[in-house]
Amino acid sequence: MTDETVGEKGTREPETGATPIVEGDGKGDGGASSGVTVKELGTEVPGHPNRRKAILGAGVGVAAVAAGAYGLSRLVNEPEATEIDAVYTGGDEVPLQDPDSNLWRDAPSARVVLGPQDVTTPKLPEAAVSAISVRALHDGGMIGFRLEWGVDEESNLTIKTDQFRDGAAVLFASEANAGLRMMGNPAQPVTIVQWKADWQRDVDKGFQDITVAFPNASTDFYPPLVKDAHDAVDVTVPDAYMQANATYRLAGYAADNFQSAIYRVSPVEKLLAQGFGTSATAPTQDASGSGIWTDRGWRVALGKNMKGSDPNEVSLEPGKTYGVAFAVWVGADDNVGARKSPSKIVLKLNVEVAQS
C-alpha cells in the first residue's frame, strides 16, 4: 500500500449494506491478510489540512472520506459525494503518469456511488463495483482524476473472443444535469476520457500480440509476409507488418480505427458523444494517464487538457462549475460498452480558482 484510500469492492459486497464484513471472508483482501491496518486504511481525510479546510469552507460536499474499503475497516456507510473539487496544484503538474504521487493527497477523496446501467440495452442489471474513490486536481492546463476501486481479478487482455478488459471513464459535461449522465445529447455534447487496462499493458510491455494469449500459436504463413512455413511464428505485430508494408491485412488498423492501434502511447482515449451510441474517438488525442494494479483493485490517474482542442469538446476554466460522471468496467464480469457501472448521478465539478 502506498496510499490509504481504496475504492470499494464490487457486487461481491452489498451496496447499501451497513453489513460489516466478517473477518477472513476468504477473498484474501481482508485487512489482516493484506497486512493493511485499520489505521492505514484510515478514516481521516488525508492530504493537506489547510487545503481540506479551504474546500470544506467553500461549502463543498466532500464528506466522502477515504472509504477504507477492505476487510474490517470497510466504511460502507460513508456518505455519497454529490460534488467533486478539482483542487489547484499550486503550479505543479497534475501527476497523470503517477497515480501514487503524494500530490493526489492535496485533493479530498470523494466516494462516488456507482449503479447498474439500466437505461439502455444492453444493460448491466447489477453494478459490478458499488463505489469508487475519486480525487481531482488541476494545474491550470490539465485536469486530472485519480480513481480507485476494488476488483478481485485483473483483466488486461482483449485478445481472445471472450476476454474483456477492466476500464474506467470520466465524463465531462457543461453542467451537472442528470440528463447528461448517459453520453449527453446533441445540444449538450459531452467529453469522455477512458482508461483501459489492456491499453495500459500495451503501453507498459509493447503491443500484446496473439502469442500472449496463445503461447503455442503456429501458422503456415501470413501472406505476403513470409514464404517459409516456420517463419510464421516470428511474424510480429507491429514490426513485421510495418516492414513488409502489409498493414492492409490488419483491417481495423488500416481503417485508422484507434481501437486497433499497434503503437500505443497512452492508455487513455478521449471521446466525444452526444447521446446513446454516438461516442466516437476524438480527432485529437491529448488525454493521458496511467493505471496501477494494486493486487486488490486499480489505482488510475487520467485527465485531459482543460482547454478543448476539438469542436464540441467540453473546456474547463478555473473558478467555474461543470458536470462530471464516472463509470467502471470489470472485464472478468464480461463488462464492455454499455455493460458498465456508471455513477448514479452527474456530480458537480468545482474547478478551483488557480491562485498560489
Binding site: T120, I210, A217, Y222, G252, Q259
Partner: protein, 379 residues
C-alpha cells in the same frame, strides 16, 4: 420494438428497427445434394480475406458435416437449446424468435463463443448420424445412416441480429444490395454482434481487437461477378444472385424461381427470425425429416419431393436453373430453358452461359488397342 414482416415465418415479428428492405437483396442458394466438402470455397475465402494475423481461426465460409459438425462448436444446438422447444403452426411460426426471446435488458437472445469453440472446424466431419452396423444402410434411399455437408457463409439477413445488437450502429446493411458489413472505423470491439448472430458469422480479430465478418465479396458483386467462394465452387452447388420478397418474385430470376416459385430452397434455421438470404436445397437422402424441418423449416420435406421429381426428369426448368450454377463467373439475373438448353443472362442482358440440361456422355471401350492399355473409370 417495432414490428416487421418476416415472410419466412409467415407473420410479423419484433425487431430492433422498422422494416426497410434494400433496393435489391443479394442472396444465394446452396444445393446440399451436390456439395462434396472439398472446402475449395473455404480456402478461397481464407486466402482472400482472412490470412492476416489475428484471423487465424476465422472461416467466413466453412463447410460442416451434419448432423454432428458445427463451427463454432455446437452453435446451432446451443442457440436452439437457449430458445427452447418452439412450434410451427403449418407455415406460420408459432414460437419465439431470438428477438422476441431476448432476456430483460438484452437486445437479442445469444451467447458468446470462446476460442475453444472455434478450434474444431472439422468436428464431426463425415460422421453418420448413427453407427453403421450392417450393410443394408447403403442399399436404399433415403439412407438409414446419413450425413450431409452444410456450407455456410453470412446470410446477409434482412433482419440481421448482429446489426440489431450493436449499440453503436457500427454494422450496416447496404441499401443498394442488402450486404451486411461491419464498419471497421466505428467498431469498438464490444462483440455484441458476435454474441447475437445465431449463425456465428461475425468474428473477433485477435490483433485488431474489433469484429469482422463475411463481406459477400462486395467489390466483385459491385462489378457483377460472383463472390470468391461461389465462383470457385467445383461442385457447382451455388446459385448466386438477387432474391426478392415473395410478393415481388420474378419467375425468370434464378433465385426467385428456386425460393418462391418451386420452393425447393429453404432458409437455414428460419425460426431465429433474421430472415436469412442464403437458402438451401435440403438433402434428399436423409431419412430423418424432423431433423431437416428443424434446420430448414416446415417446408423441407416438400422441397425434397420437388427436387427428387426434377432429378427424375420431370422438371426441366428446375434442372435448367441448377445446371447454370457457376457456369459463368458473372451474376445471372435471368434464365430460360428452351428445349434441351438453359441460358443465363446478366443484368445488362448479355448471355453469360448456355448449358445443356444433360451433359453429352461418351462411352469408350475399355481396351485401347492404339496404345495397348486398359482404361479405368477414374478419370
Amino acid at each position: 420494438m417495432p414490428e416487421v414482416y418476416n415472410w419466412q415465418l409467415g407473420r410479423k415479428m419484433a425487431y430492433l428497427y422498422p422494416e426497410v428492405r434494400p433496393q435489391r437483396q443479394a442472396g444465394a442458394v446452396f444445393d446440399t445434394n451436390k456439395c462434396i466438402a472439398c472446402q475449395t470455397c473455404t480456402v478461397a475465402c481464407k486466402t482472400t480475406w482472412t490470412s492476416g494475423k489475428g484471423q487465424e481461426y476465422m472461416f467466413w465460409n466453412n463447410v460442416e458435416s451434419k448432423p454432428w459438425g458445427s463451427y463454432p462448436l455446437a452453435y446451432d444446438a446451443k442457440i436452439l437449446e437457449k430458445l427452447g422447444a418452439q412450434n410451427w403452426d403449418g407455415d406460420v411460426y408459432a414460437g419465439k424468435t431470438i428477438f422476441e426471446a431476448a432476456p430483460e435488458g438484452e437486445r437479442v437472445l445469444g451467447y458468446l463463443p470462446n476460442d475453444l469453440d472455434y478450434a474444431y472446424p472439422n468436428k464431426g466431419e463425415d460422421e453418420t448420424n448413427t453407427t453403421v452396423d450392417s450393410e443394408k444402410y447403403h442399399l436404399r434411399l433415403p439412407h438409414d445412416a446419413w450425413f450431409f455437408y452444410l456450407p455456410r457463409i453470412c446470410n446477409h439477413c434482412t433482419y440481421p441480429a448482429c446489426l440489431g445488437a450493436c449499440p453503436r450502429t457500427a454494422i450496416f446493411k447496404r441499401p443498394e444490395d442488402g450486404i451486411v458489413l461491419t464498419d471497421e472505423q466505428r467498431c469498438r470491439g464490444y462483440r455484441e454482434c458476435v454474441r447475437a448472430c445465431p449463425y456465428k458469422k461475425v468474428m473477433y480479430n485477435h490483433v485488431t481487437r474489433i469484429s469482422e465478418k463475411c463481406v459477400l465479396c462486395f467489390p466483385a458483386v459491385e462489378k457483377g461477378f460472383l463472390t470468391r467462394c461461389m465462383r470457385t465452387c467445383i461442385g457447382k452447388i451455388r446459385t448466386f444472385g438477387w432474391v426478392n420478397p415473395p410478393e415481388k418474385a420474378d419467375p425468370e430470376n434464378p433465385l426467385d424461381f428456386l425460393v418462391h416459385v418451386r420452393k425447393v430452397a429453404r432458409p437455414l434455421l428460419p425460426q431465429m427470425g433474421t430472415e436469412p438470404n442464403v437458402y438451401y436445397i435440403p438433402p434428399i437422402h436423409v431419412e430423418n425429416q424432423r431433423f431437416l424441418r428443424m434446420l430448414f423449416g416446415p417446408g423441407a420435406t416438400e422441397s425434397v419431393e420437388t427436387y427428387r421429381n426434377a432429378m427424375e426428369g420431370n422438371d426441366p426448368e428446375l434442372l435448367g436453373v441448377l445446371v447454370l450454377n457457376v457456369a459463368s463467373d458473372r451474376i445471372i439475373s435471368k434464365f430460360k430453358v428452351q428445349g434441351e438448353t438453359a441460358t443465363g443472362w446478366d443484368d445488362q442482358g448479355n448471355v453469360v452461359a448456355t448449358v445443356p440440361l444433360k451433359e453429352p456422355t461418351m462411352v469408350r471401350p475399355q481396351f485401347d488397342p492404339s496404345v495397348a492399355v486398359y482404361r479405368y473409370n477414374i478419370t
